[in-house]
């Protein structure tokens, strides 16, 4: 049962990265879209993420609940030492979620729209940035359980070049995912072209930020290189990611949207796999030691109950979720007006 629970944890993190990520990315794209196209982009974006954005963000809650029920020591250690970036991320989540629904449901569309738009776009950038910072800090051995002064315990646990590079990398990935997703969401040729261009630039940004991650890891002696290339699964995953990238560029020109999305998702999954597999089951790497999912698991009965709840939940959730996505995919062409 422990492995089922860990599997759910990993899957929820991946799905949050993919679905929540594409969602953040939509805001990032809005941030980087020129003024004249922004209105149209917003419309497409709303149609694309409106019905599912709420569900997309549930994966984060599932991951958190799994952590605090099944692996409470890991949850509480991260909560203590990464308090500040987690709090900033939360503020981002609040700002973004509310701004998104406010701008669509405000009965009068006036200057307030500008305010909502600004908040939405900026927090779409901040939130994944800090999500990445939290992830980067968790695995980079910056958390020092023996330090007691404020700076070392609560600031330098996350404030580093490496963490920020991972943060930026996360932002770029989100933008890329969203651009790939949005290509298939619009029928307007001009707009497709624009999203395609966006996907290319986000991809380039991701490669640059990925380079920054390696560089900063190098400078701070974080062995990212050996994590990724240190074992055969990691190497395979990286190769798979690279091949899918090349295919992706090729297919993007052809306009095969479904395969394109699948490939983009696959690529992200491979990246996540390659960085997690090598130090599994250690999910958090400390300055001295690590926090292991296996050693720090909760009581057996708890894991048993948690696993059962998750399995039971997926029986209900997955079919409903697929049907939701499917129905809105199928019918998106039929003209409809969200105000209706």
């Amino acid at each position: 049962m422990l492995y089922i629970v860990i599997g759910f944890l990993w899957t929820s993190i991946l799905l949050y990265l993919l679905l929540g990520g594409a969602d953040f990315g939509a805001g990032i794209i809005e941030l980087f879209t020129g003024k004249k196209d922004r209105q149209q982009t917003r419309k497409t974006l709303y149609k694309a993420i409106g019905p599912i954005w709420e569900a997309n963000h549930m994966w984060l809650i599932i991951a958190i609940v799994i952590l605090f029920v099944g692996f409470p020591v890991i949850y509480s250690t991260m909560s203590i030492y990464l308090h500040i970036p987690l709090t900033i991320m939360l503020l981002g989540i609040v700002a973004r979620g509310t701004a998104f629904s406010f701008r669509n449901y405000d009965a009068i569309k006036d200057d307030m729209q500008m305010v909502y738009n600004r908040i939405f776009a900026i927090s779409s950038f901040i939130t994944p940035l800090f999500l990445g910072i939290v992830a980067g800090s968790a695995v980079s051995g910056q958390i020092d359980l023996s330090s007691h002064d404020f700076l070392n315990a609560y600031i330098f646990s996350w404030f580093s070049w490496f963490s920020f590079s991972v943060g930026l990398f996360t932002v770029a990935i989100c933008g890329f995912l969203a651009a790939v997703y949005l290509i298939g969401e619009t029928k307007i040729k001009e707009e497709q072209k624009q999203f395609r261009k966006m996907a290319v630039s986000m991809n380039i940004a991701a490669v640059i930020c990925g380079g920054l991650v390696f560089l900063s890891a190098r400078l701070s002696n974080i062995p990212v290189y050996t994590w990724i290339f240190g074992n055969s699964i990691g190497i395979t995953a990286v190769i798979a990611a690279t091949i899918s990238l090349i295919l992706l560029w090729y297919l993007m020109m052809q306009g095969k949207t479904i395969i394109l999305r699948f490939l983009a998702g696959f690529q992200i999954a491979m990246i996540l796999l390659s960085v997690t597999i090598n130090h599994y089951p250690n999910i958090v790497i400390l300055k001295t030691g690590h926090l292991s999912l296996v050693e720090l698991r909760g009581h057996d009965k708890t894991i048993e109950a948690l696993g059962t709840a998750l399995l039971l939940g997926s029986v209900f959730i997955l079919p409903a979720l697929f049907y939701l996505i499917y129905s809105f995919q199928k019918r998106k062409d039929s003209s409809y007006n969200p105000d209706h």
Binding site: I61, F68, I80, T98, F150, I317
Partner: protein, 440 residues
């Protein structure tokens, strides 16, 4: 500001904020389902319009409820890491089931809000019902987690270690039923009166009277049924508290000395030093009756509890008085309304009745906040009753005060914006939903 106080304030603020949105998220879908159903059966366009107008409100509230809930699931760890380290695996069961319920709610809401004219109309209606049912279920589940903090079960605490953990027994602790029942009714009463009050105000102002009358009726009915049942369920809660948390009961009633035939204390200002209540009205024997169902029974006073285990008495007492007072007012309103429905139909269109509902508008939510203050402050100094002290659970990180200020700012601005948006929704009713009689 002291770190510990800041952490408590931030938790209280976040929960006090979230609860408003979650109540609405739990209850409004039921109102919508009813009016949607009437529309499906009668074809009266007013009901369709009400359903749509409400559903826009729900979308705003749902989003705010969801993000503030997400904040809470992190805050439990950010503020109380020591608590979560031990409690997580024990009281986590309802949270993991709740995750499922939320997910289903979010999916169903996607279908409902974006599904107008796209699906079979009955399927569409049904997804709305699912939103309500799963929302209510999540409410019950979280409250069961909170009930565990009041009446911990499902583990043995030996030499500072938590062993023999049984998450299922923890979920069905002694307090879950009384709390879940009382909370669910409170959600219906609070949301119902709030919605009814707004519609009543619009009728008085003669704005879209037909539209608002229909909305008023649905909301008022739900609210009044809940308000009648609420004192009964409160009585169950009080008996339950007397059994499991005598210190909380004593603080609620500012009951200092253990005595037989204890009086019920109405109002008054507790003086913690002199151990008495000034300016209070005392009704002999009634506290004994409320707590144990017998006018002569002995009720434990605060003197039987070590001083360092006393909850803050004044706050708990005031909050309890406020809840009861508001509960009684709402119950009277409900009695009047039912009497009007039954015998005096002509009252229903009278302005004084509508005015009464306008006055009652905020009372349900005030009572909800007061009730939670009773429950949470009355549990102090414990975070897990009798097992772990709140002061031992707080995060070691200094400077929580700043985070408290930031969250206060955020929540206050959100409250302002949500109110502003609601105001604009209502203002736009004429333009969006004006239905002349008989014309669609």
């Amino acid at each position: 500001m002291d770190n510990f106080i800041a952490a408590r304030s931030q938790m209280a603020l976040s929960l006090g904020f979230h609860i408003v949105f979650s109540c609405i998220g739990m209850v409004m879908p039921f109102f919508m389902a009813v009016s949607h159903l009437i529309w499906l059966r009668t074809g009266n366009p007013n009901y369709k319009n009400i359903t749509k107008a409400w559903s826009k409100g729900v979308a705003i509230f749902f989003a705010t409820g969801a993000v503030s809930g997400t904040v809470l699931s992190f805050e439990l760890g950010l503020l109380w890491p020591e608590f979560m380290k031990h409690a997580g695996p024990i009281f986590g069961m309802p949270f993991s089931l709740e995750g499922t319920a939320f997910f289903i709610e979010a999916i169903a809401l996607g279908f409902y809000l974006y599904g107008w004219d796209r699906f079979n109309r009955w399927f569409h209606w049904f997804t709305g019902v699912i939103v309500g049912v799963s929302g209510l279920l999540s409410g019950i589940l979280v409250v069961s987690a909170n009930a565990w903090m009041n009446s911990p079960k499902g583990f043995d605490y030996v030499n500072g270690k938590y062993i023999n953990i049984d998450p299922i027994a923890a979920m069905f602790n002694d307090a879950w039923f009384s709390q879940a029942l009382h909370m669910s009714l409170a959600a219906f009463a609070a949301t119902g009166f709030a919605v009814a009050g707004v519609h009543a105000l619009m009728i008085i102002r003669k704005n879209n009277v037909v539209f608002h009358q229909k909305g008023f009726k649905i909301a008022a009915l739900f609210a009044c049924v809940a308000a009648l049942l609420q004192p009964l369920s409160g009585d169950i809660s009080a008996k339950d508290v007397a059994k499991r948390q005598p210190a909380k009961l004593a603080a609620m009633e500012a009951h200092f000395e253990t005595e037989k035939g204890a009086p019920f204390i109405l109002g008054g200002i507790p003086d913690e030093k002199e151990k008495k209540v000034n300016y209070a009205i005392k009704i002999p024997g009634v506290l004994s009756f409320l707590a144990h169902g017998d006018f002569k029974a002995e009720v434990k006073g605060l003197n039987s509890i070590p001083e360092n285990e006393h909850p803050p008495i004044a706050i708990t007492h005031f909050a309890f008085q406020i809840m009861i007072g508001l509960g009684v007012l709402m119950m009277i309103t409900a009695v009047i309304y039912f009497f009007a429905l039954w015998k005096k139909k002509e009252w229903l269109t009278k302005e004084w009745l509508l005015k009464l509902f306008v006055i009652v508008t905020p009372m349900g939510f005030l009572a909800v906040e007061a009730g939670w203050t009773v429950t949470e402050v009355g549990r102090q100094p414990w975070i897990i009753y009798g097992v772990m002290r709140t002061a031992d659970a707080v995060t070691p990180m200094p400077g929580i005060a700043y985070s408290f200020y930031v969250f206060t700012l955020v929540y206050v601005s959100l409250a302002v914006v949500v109110t502003f948006m609601l105001y604009r929704q209502i203002k736009m009713v004429n333009i969006l939903y004006d239905v002349k009689e008989g014309v669609q």
